[in-house]
């Protein structure tokens, strides 16, 4: 459903972020189109919380989001990545040293 007039006001898109359990990060759940924060809350409650799947929601007008979408990616940046560098063995050794107590 696109923005337009509804319920007597101009609609806007509200992005909905959902927290599944206290202390967990909020994750993007979807969006609602609503004429104001109160309708956005009422609709988001029913759409993203009716099965007890959320303990909290954040509602953010899409216009309030400062989006970052452009990157200078002409150079090969792969050398900065650590894929393939396994720390598993080193970590195991470090844990064993730690368990053995101070030298």
């Amino acid at each position: 459903m696109g923005p337009g007039r509804g319920a007597g006001g101009v609609n806007e898109v509200w992005e909905v972020f959902r927290q599944e359990r206290r202390g967990q990060p909020f994750e993007h759940a979807g969006s609602v189109v609503a004429p104001d924060a109160e309708f956005a809350e009422t609709w988001a409650r029913e759409q993203y919380g009716r099965r007890g799947e959320s303990v909290a929601l954040w509602l953010v007008p899409r216009d309030a989001i400062h989006a970052v979408e452009h990157w200078a990616d002409e150079f090969d940046l792969k050398y900065r990545r650590v894929d393939g560098y396994s720390i598993k063995v080193r970590l195991k050794e470090a844990r064993e040293r730690a368990a053995a107590g101070p030298r």
Binding site: V33, E38, F39, T42, E46
Partner: protein, 211 residues
């Protein structure tokens, strides 16, 4: 059988059915989801109250003949426009609140506890209804719908609770002959059609449908 509780449960069951008739065709997608969810909540409240009254909620909900239902005519009406549907939702929540608040003081702790639990969920239904009411109250179509349904809304409550409702919604109580046929105890013709649909599955499998 507690007639007051049976009336409450039947109201919640029937308005749940009526409101869920909007699933898929409500004026906005978001409202469609919300309205359907609220309708399901109402049916959930009906189930909880039936369980307080009998061992088998389904039997109580679906196995009674039509004339044993205690729902108020307000919830029976098949409303085909959004203005009337939202006007009923708002008036119903205002009336429901008055009887639920009274039940929260009930001497039976099981009744008082369930009323409090229902009230905690109804708070969100009231928030939803109030938002629509605030937006639409000056719209002529909504005002006409409220005027049409107001006598039926009074019929949800016993006479001693009606003044309280009138004060809450700032409307005048009309004369008794206007209320005739619109109070609990009467049924509309539309209930028969709904009962027929509502009990189809149950009647087709008298031993109990397995899902």
């Amino acid at each position: 059988m507690n007639e007051l509780l049976l009336g409450l449960a039947d109201d919640e069951l029937v308005i749940g059915w009526r409101d869920s008739e909007w699933t898929g065709i409500a004026p906005m997608l978001e409202e469609d989801v919300a309205f359907s969810s609220i309708a399901q909540n109402e049916i959930g409240h009906a189930r909880a109250v039936y369980e307080l009254l009998a061992d088998d909620a389904d039997a109580l909900a679906f196995d009674r003949p039509l004339d044993e239902y205690r729902c108020a005519p307000l919830v029976e009406l098949r409303l085909l426009d959004w203005a009337h549907t939202i006007a009923r939702r708002w008036l119903y929540e205002e009336a429901d609140r008055i009887r639920i608040e009274a039940l929260m003081e009930d001497a039976d702790p099981a009744v008082a506890g369930l009323a409090a639990k229902i009230d905690r969920e109804e708070a969100y239904h009231r928030m939803h209804a109030e938002l629509w009411h605030e937006r639409l109250r000056d719209e002529p179509r909504f005002r006409d719908a409220v005027a049409d349904l107001w006598p039926y809304a009074l019929g949800v409550l016993p006479p001693d609770q009606r003044e309280q409702l009138a004060a809450r919604v700032s409307l005048e109580i009309p004369s008794n002959n206007v209320l005739l046929g619109k109070e609990r105890g009467s049924h509309t013709d539309e209930l028969a059609e709904l009962w027929n649909e509502m009990t189809t599955v149950r009647r087709s499998a008298p031993a109990g449908a397995q899902w």
